[in-house]
C-alpha cells in the first residue's frame, strides 16, 4: 500500500490518470485473491510491526477518575469544546460567568435544557436571556413597533447611577445588560 501511495505523486506529476476501483473481497477476483495470499505471507513474517504508531494524534482525558484515549471523533470534539469554554469562562469576571461557574447548583440541568432539541428555540433563547440578565432595550422595542415610549427605563437608571447627563439616542445592541 505504501508503495502505491509513494507512486501516486510521480503519476500526478507525469499527468497520468489513476483510478481506484473497490473490489468486493473474498469473491474470487484473481488480483484480490493474490493480495490476500501476500497478506497471509506477510503476517507470518517476523519483520512486520503492527504496533507502529500512526501519525494520527491521540487525545487523553479523565472523566470521573477514568482516563480515556481516542483519536479525533465527535466525542473528543465535544470534550475539547467543553474544556475551551471552561477555560474561557475563567477569564470572565461578570455576573453571568460567576453564575455559570458556581459549583453544586445543578448547572448540568441548565446545559441539558439548552441543548434539548424538543425545547422550542425561543424558549431556550429566553432562558439564556434570563440567566445573563439580557433584555431587549426599549429603544429597540420602539423600532420594532412594540413600544411607543423611546426612553429606556433600564438605560435611564444606569445613566443616572453613573451620573451621565445625556443618554445616547441610539442603542449599541439589541441585548441589554442590567447592571447590578
Amino acid at each position: 500500500m505504501r508503495d502505491i501511495i509513494q507512486l501516486l505523486p510521480e503519476r500526478i506529476e507525469q499527468g497520468l490518470l489513476t483510478i481506484f476501483i473497490k473490489i468486493k473481497a473474498h469473491n474470487g477476483d484473481p488480483p484480490n485473491e493474490l493480495a490476500d495470499r501476500w497478506a497471509d505471507k506477510g503476517r507470518q513474517s517476523e519483520n512486520i510491526r503492527w504496533s507502529l504508531p500512526t501519525n494520527r494524534p491521540i487525545f487523553f482525558w479523565t472523566d470521573k477518575g477514568t482516563t480515556h484515549r481516542s483519536h479525533m471523533n465527535p466525542t473528543v470534539k465535544k470534550r475539547i469544546d467543553l474544556q475551551v469554554s471552561r477555560q474561557q469562562l475563567k477569564t470572565h469576571k461578570g455576573s453571568t460567568a460567576n453564575f455559570l461557574t458556581r459549583e453544586d447548583n445543578s448547572r448540568d440541568l441548565l446545559g441539558n435544557f439548552h441543548k434539548h432539541r424538543s425545547e422550542w428555540i425561543r424558549a431556550r433563547r429566553r432562558v439564556l436571556q434570563c440567566l445573563s440578565y439580557q433584555f431587549s432595550c426599549a429603544l429597540q422595542l420602539k423600532q420594532w413597533g412594540i413600544l411607543i415610549e423611546v426612553k429606556c427605563r433600564l438605560c435611564a437608571k444606569y445613566y443616572t447611577e453613573k451620573n451621565i447627563r445625556e443618554p445616547p439616542d441610539s442603542v449599541e445592541s439589541v441585548g441589554h445588560i442590567q447592571r447590578h
Binding site: R102, N105, R126, F135, H180
Partner: protein, 201 residues
C-alpha cells in the same frame, strides 16, 4: 413545585407508609394548613364545634403562655399573624411523632449565598411556630417534635443538588432515579416559569 402524594413509599416497622402528607389533596395540589389544623392533627388542640367561640381564645391563651415563657415581645396583632401563617406543606410521621414543615421557595439567585439567605429567612419565619408546637408537646407530654425542611430553587434554575437529594431522602424518597427525576422536574419547572415571564417582556 413538584407533586406530593398522601403518603410516602418508605415503610416503617409496621410495614405502613412512614410519612403522611396530610395537607396534600392530589399529586398536583395541596391545601395550606393553619395552626389549628396542624395542632388538631397532632392531638395538641381540640377544635370545638362551630359557634362555641372558644377555639381562638384557647389557642391565643396557649400562644401567650409560650411567648411569655420564652420572653418574646408581642402584641395582639402579632398573635393574629402567628395564627394566620401557614406552611407550604406538611409531613407527619405518626409512629415517631415527627412533624415537618415543608417550605418551597423560588429565590433570586444573583449572589453566591442566595439559598442560605432565603432559607434563613424561611427558618426565621417559622421558628417560633416550631418552638410553640414543641412547647405544647412538652407541656402535654405528647412526644411530638416539629422541625422544618426547605426546598429552595433559584429563579434561574439553580438548585443545591446534594442538599436537595438529602432532603428528599429524609422524606422517604430513597430511589435514586426518582430523586433525579424530581430534581430534573423542579429545575425544568423553574425554567418554564422564567420563560413564561420573559414571554411578556
Amino acid at each position: 413545585m413538584f407533586s406530593i402524594r398522601k403518603s410516602s413509599i418508605e415503610l416503617n416497622e409496621a410495614s405502613e407508609p412512614r410519612w403522611h402528607f396530610s395537607s396534600a389533596l392530589s399529586p398536583e395540589a395541596y391545601a395550606e394548613w393553619g395552626l389549628y389544623k396542624i395542632l388538631k392533627y397532632m392531638g395538641l388542640h381540640e377544635i370545638l364545634p362551630p359557634g362555641a367561640g372558644q377555639n381562638r381564645a384557647k389557642l391565643r391563651k396557649d400562644i401567650e403562655e409560650y411567648l411569655v415563657a420564652y420572653a418574646i415581645d408581642f402584641d395582639e396583632t402579632d398573635i393574629g399573624t402567628f395564627i394566620a401563617r401557614r406552611p407550604d406543606g406538611l409531613a407527619f410521621d405518626k409512629k415517631k411523632k415527627l412533624c415537618i414543615f415543608l417550605e418551597y421557595t423560588r429565590a433570586m439567585d444573583t449572589n453566591e449565598d442566595w439559598a442560605e439567605k432565603k432559607e434563613q429567612e424561611k427558618n426565621d419565619k417559622y421558628s417560633s411556630h416550631l418552638g410553640f408546637i414543641n412547647h405544647l408537646s412538652n407541656r402535654d407530654k405528647s412526644g411530638w417534635k416539629a422541625s422544618q425542611t426547605n426546598f429552595t430553587t433559584g429563579v434561574r434554575g439553580s438548585l443545591h443538588t446534594n442538599q436537595f437529594l438529602t432532603r428528599l431522602e429524609s422524606l422517604g424518597v430513597k430511589n435514586k432515579n426518582t430523586q433525579e427525576a424530581l430534581r430534573n422536574r423542579t429545575v425544568q419547572k423553574t425554567f418554564s416559569i422564567a420563560d413564561m415571564i420573559l414571554k411578556f417582556f
